[in-house]
Symmetry: C2
Subunit: 169 residues, 2 copies
DNA sequence: AAGATTACCTTGGTCGGCCAAGGAATGGGT
DNA sequence: ACCCATTCCTTGGCCGACCAAGGTAATCTT
C-alpha cells in the first residue's frame, strides 16, 4: 500500500466561503478528470484525448478546424495533441484536397479499437459518480449544470456567434 | 476583436450519450477554470495558484506537506508551484526548525495584497455562474455536487483514511 | 489582376498536473 | 546502538492547455 496518496482535499480552504458552488465545481471536475485518467491509462490514452477520439469516431475524416471548434480548444492544443495521437498510432492526418492549408484527420483501426473501451469507461464512471442519487436527482443535476454552463459560456465567448453551419458530421 | 476564439464546445460529441452528467461536469469545470483564469491574470496569478494562496492566507506559516494534503495535489506539483510563486514574490519559504527535512511556507506582503482581489474574483464568478438560478437551485446544486464529490473521492482515495488530525490551521 | 484580409495550422514558450525515482532526515523495532 | 521503514521534499519527464507570433493558402476588395 503506497502510504500518502494525493487527492484528498478534505477540508477545503476558505474558498468555500467566497464561492461554494464554484469551488465544488472545480473540485468535482478535477476528481472526475483524475478518475477518468486512471481508466484511460489502461487504454493507452491521456485525459482529454478521449474527447478528441470520440469526435473522430462520430464524424469520419474531419478538418482540424472542426475539432478545434467542437471541442472548444485552442488550435495549438489540438495540433500538439494530434501529433502525439498520430505518433501513438491512434490517428492519421492527411492533406485536404479541397483546401491546401487544411488538414484532414481520422481515426486509425488502432484508434477505432478503443471505442468500446472508452465508452464503457465513461458509462462506468457515470454510474459511479451518480451512485446513491435518484434518477430525478441526476436529471436535476444535469439541468443545473446546463444552466451554469450557459452562464459561463456567455462570458467566455463574449460576443462571437459560433458559426451555425458547423455541425457537419 | 480577435476573430476566432477558442472555447465554444457547442454540440459536444457523443460523450453526451455515455455520460451526460460527467460530460457536463467536465465542461463546466473547464469553463469555470478558464473564466477564473481570466480574472486571475489581471492579478498576476495563474489558475490553481489562487487556491494555494487562499490556504496560506487562512493558515499562517504552513508545512508543505500540509498544503499537499489539504489541496489534494501531487507533491511535485506543489513544489514547482511554490518555486514559481516564490520567484514571483508571492510566497516565502524557509526551513522548519522542528524538522530539518520539512519546509515552512507563508505568504509575503505581496501575496497578502492579492487577498481581497482574489476573493472578489471568486465572489464575482460565483454570482455570474449562478445567474438566473434561485437560491434553492443553488443550494440543490451544491448538495448534488457534494454527493458526486463524495462518490468520486472514495474511488480516488481507495482506502486510506486521510489522517484526521490534519486540520491544523 | 493585384493587394489586403481572413482562415488554417505550426512553433515556441509557460503553467498546472501527474508519475516515477531519488536524496535527506526522522522514528521505530530489536 | 543500529538498521530499516517512513516521511518530506526535489528532480526529470510527459501531457493537456493557454497565449503570442508566424507562415502559407484561400477569399474578399478594389
Amino acid at each position: 500500500m503506497s502510504g500518502t496518496d494525493p487527492v484528498c482535499t478534505e477540508p477545503p480552504p476558505a474558498a468555500t466561503r467566497c464561492g461554494p458552488v464554484g469551488h465544488a465545481l472545480a473540485r468535482v471536475g478535477r476528481l472526475h478528470r483524475i478518475a477518468m485518467g486512471r481508466r484511460l491509462r489502461e487504454l493507452g490514452l491521456y485525459p482529454g484525448q478521449e474527447l478528441m477520439m470520440m469526435r473522430l469516431w462520430d464524424c469520419g475524416p474531419v478538418r482540424q478546424s472542426e475539432l478545434i471548434q467542437s471541442l472548444g480548444l485552442d488550435p495549438s492544443t489540438v495540433t500538439k495533441m494530434l501529433q502525439r495521437l498520430e505518433q501513438s498510432g491512434h490517428v492519421r492526418r492527411g492533406p485536404d484536397p479541397a483546401d491546401r492549408r487544411a488538414v484532414l484527420v481520422e481515426a486509425t483501426e488502432r484508434g477505432q479499437a478503443l471505442r468500446t473501451g472508452v465508452e464503457d469507461a465513461w458509462k462506468d464512471l457515470e454510474s459511479l459518480s451518480l451512485g446513491g442519487l435518484s434518477a430525478a436527482d441526476g436529471a436535476e443535476l444535469s439541468r443545473l449544470l446546463g444552466l451554469v454552463a450557459e452562464n459561463l459560456r456567455e462570458e467566455t465567448e463574449e460576443a462571437d456567434g459560433c458559426a451555425p453551419g458547423a455541425t457537419v458530421c
